[in-house]
């Protein structure tokens, strides 16, 4: 039972309630910067970090006026950081050697979170849906799906298939220790819908992300302690394997029991005893076979997947074969890399940004009523497409930089036609005050294992743009690509062949003018531009 507040001493109570003690230790500073091939890094020490590392604190208006932030000394109200309407600060150091509280404005991340809330988009799990071409066809799971969000190892829900197997093996080994005769092991029933889930939090470490020292520490301090425990599992597994293979061999040999009941029972008993007689040599041979298999194929071997991973509660480690990927390297070492996408998250998949589970809500307009799509969001074109020679233009939505919907190589006519401006996000726009903005529909956010938030954006084209621009005319819905009189284009003095007929009134006018301009006879060329008519007509 937790200690009750009242039972603590007044001083303890005071300390527990104080800002001084409730500020958590800051996270290590993430790396903001880019590294080029030659080992040159470009970085800024004052750039906004991809996620907050310090606790942001606020204070009430009356305390703010007195400069009281609950810290050791008041913060100076003349600081420009505190002269905003809604100041939030982070404390870099509570007390320095100069007797100054070192603080900084935390408005960057606090406002970013507020803006994200206004977007009203859910956080989803996994980055697959953010790839260029998502081949899985599976909609991304929400961050709060109950089977992905279970972090306990005690319940069935929190177990994956290998975990269930190991637990059953443990129970079987316990049973066999107490009873003289061998009880065969039956793998537990597994519900694929529940137990193939990927938990986001693991007890074990992410081994590909450890450095050499950490790994040596892990081996010597954590793993060596659990050796005997693991050996028990290993022996139980090998015994079970030997038993089942023998059983299969016997049943395949097709021996039939004798017809007399008592004889049959005796025969059965003898047979099961023979099956259960597993010598130490057999076990050692079985372990050796498992190890050999693991040496050949470390990550996919039975020893790894069925025993080691659930025993140490490691996140699943996968190799990613990148020889055929888009920007594959020629170096062999790069072709065999660990799949970083399967690396466990460092935060909850929602990243603490919001609690929305899906985006399936109806936006309501005060005049027009329910809308099929919520109001579009103006996204700042932070980086034009040609600027960085990147595939995508980078758009800034609510303070997060995200990829544009379209790539430079996209030529889908249906999607590109909708964009009115031909230059669009190709180059930097220096004429619009404040820079170019495009209207987008954010779909969802997803957090990567290094704590960065990626947003999925779609360009907003359609009625919601007009509504946002204030065109509130209520038009009846019109069927697209619908021709009320399909026969109208036939006949009427035309051949019906597109190439032979001039398509429009305008084209016929043009042709008439050009005809008039064409010089006739042998005389001097007419005023104007001789030859231009022909050139234009041929095009």
């Amino acid at each position: 039972m937790a200690l009750r507040r009242q039972s603590l001493s007044p001083t303890a109570n005071l300390l527990r309630n104080s800002r001084l003690f409730s500020l958590p230790n800051p996270l290590p500073r993430p790396n903001v910067g880019e590294t080029y091939g030659a080992g040159i890094t470009k970085a800024s020490d004052s750039a906004t970090l991809p996620y907050p590392t310090h606790q942001a604190i606020a204070t009430t208006k009356s305390s703010l006026a007195r400069g009281d932030w609950g810290l050791k000394r008041p913060l100076p109200s003349r600081s420009r950081l505190l002269q905003t309407s809604d100041p939030v600060v982070r404390i870099t150091q509570l007390d320095t050697i100069e007797h100054v509280t070192d603080f900084d404005s935390a408005a960057d991340h606090v406002r970013t979170r507020q803006k994200f809330e206004e977007l009203a988009i859910p956080m989803m799990k996994g980055m697959t849906a953010l790839r260029d071409y998502d081949l899985s066809g599976v909609p991304p799971g929400g961050a709060f799906e109950i089977r992905d969000d279970t972090t306990s190892y005690d319940t069935d829900l929190g177990m994956d298939e290998a975990g269930m197997y190991l637990r059953a093996l443990k129970e079987n080994a316990k049973k066999n220790n107490t009873q003289p005769e061998y009880i065969p092991f039956k793998p537990p029933p597994v519900n694929a819908a529940v137990h193939n889930s990927k938990r986001w939090k693991h007890d074990g470490p992410w081994i590909p992300g450890m450095n050499a020292d950490d790994f040596v520490d892990y081996l010597s301090k954590e793993i060596s302690k659990r050796r005997s425990e693991f050996n028990a599992y290993l022996i139980a597994e090998v015994k079970n394997e030997i038993y089942t293979t023998r059983q299969r061999a016997v049943s395949r040999s097709g021996e039939t029991p004798p017809e007399d009941i008592t004889e049959a029972e005796a025969w059965e008993k003898e047979r099961s005893q023979k099956l259960a007689q597993i010598s130490d040599a057999d076990i050692q041979a079985g372990i050796k076979a498992l190890r050999k298999d693991a040496a050949n194929n470390p990550l996919a071997s039975k020893l790894m997947t069925k025993l080691i991973v659930p025993f140490l509660r490691l996140p699943t480690i996968k190799f990613k074969y990148t020889a055929y990927s888009e920007n594959a390297s020629n170096r062999d070492i790069d072709q065999y890399s660990f799949d970083q996408e399967t690396a466990p998250l460092s935060t909850h998949p929602s990243a603490g940004l919001g609690y929305l589970r899906t985006k399936s809500y109806l936006a309501n307009h005060p005049i027009l009523g329910p809308q099929s799509k919520p109001a579009p969001v103006a996204a700042r074109v932070v980086q034009a497409r040609s600027a960085a020679r990147a595939q995508y233009a980078r758009l800034g939505v609510a303070g997060f930089v995200a990829n544009d919907e379209y790539k430079s190589t996209d030529t889908k006519s249906s999607s590109m036609n909708a964009l009115t401006n031909t230059r669009d996000v190709e180059t930097i726009d220096i004429d619009t005050p404040g820079g170019k903005k495009v209207l987008v529909q954010p779909m969802f956010g997803s957090v990567t294992n290094d704590g960065r938030i990626h947003l999925k954006l779609k360009r907003s084209v359609g009625a919601e743009v007009q509504v946002a621009q204030g065109e509130l005319d209520d038009k009846p819905p019109v069927r697209e690509h619908y021709d009320s009189d399909p026969l109208s284009s036939l006949g009427q003095g035309r051949s019906g062949v597109k190439e032979l007929d001039e398509q429009s009134e305008r084209a016929r006018q043009l042709s008439g003018i050009l005809h008039a301009m064409t010089p006739e006879g042998k005389g001097q060329p007419a005023p104007g531009f001789p030859g231009m008519a022909d050139a234009l007509r041929s095009s």
Binding site: K42, T48, P50, T112, A212, A390, G396, V401, T427, I430
Partner: protein
């Protein structure tokens, strides 16, 4: 007149043809002094048709001037944004952009500490040695290698040892390293 110059510029593909001197001659011509009324009006059918045919599109020179102006602005933006970056207004300012202009070369952490390698024992590994010597075979300073003093002394020792044993040339990188790697790698 307006239509005349536009048409001319449209058909000129070079700077010289669209030169002002050429246009000056045109303006002095009889056609310019007595232009035909429908052309001046600009609303005639022919003008409209010509405009729709794209004859009043930006000329090449104008496009070049525009793109030069754009690239002058673009050149002052140094930060390459990655998806997942978070920005606040200050990140878009000029002062912040300036910080992304120049790169630092020094690695931020000691490579041998991270890898858990003792550099002295790697004296036979000419690939590692080559990373810590210049093109002309001199041992790099610790301000370039980013190693802590202990490891810097050790790598220097290893390089000297490798050269002394004749495993590695003293005035350039190992030939196999030179052959296998692109020159940009060691910049």
């Amino acid at each position: 007149m307006a239509a005349t110059t536009t048409c001319l510029r449209c058909f000129s593909s070079t700077r010289t043809a669209a030169d002002e001197s050429v246009l000056a001659i045109l303006s002095g011509s009889t056609a310019a002094r007595a232009p035909s009324p429908p052309q001046r009006a600009g609303g005639s059918l022919a003008t409209r048709v010509a405009r729709e045919a794209g004859l009043d599109r930006q000329t090449q020179t104008r496009e070049m001037v525009e793109s030069e102006r754009r690239s002058q602005f673009q050149r002052q933006i140094y930060r390459k944004w990655q998806p997942g970056d978070v920005y606040s207004p200050i990140d878009l300012s000029g002062a912040e952009q300036k910080k992304w202009k120049t790169g630092r070369k020094k690695p931020q952490s000691d490579a041998f500490d991270v890898l858990g390698i003792n550099p002295v024992l790697e004296y036979k590994n000419f690939t590692i040695m080559s990373e810590y010597m210049t093109e002309t075979g001199r041992i790099k300073h610790s301000k370039d290698t980013g190693l802590r003093p202990k490891n810097q002394r050790k790598i220097a020792k290893a390089i000297r040892r490798a050269i002394g044993l004749g495993l590695m040339p003293s005035v350039h990188r190992h030939p196999l390293v030179l052959k296998k790697s692109s020159p940009m790698r060691f910049l």
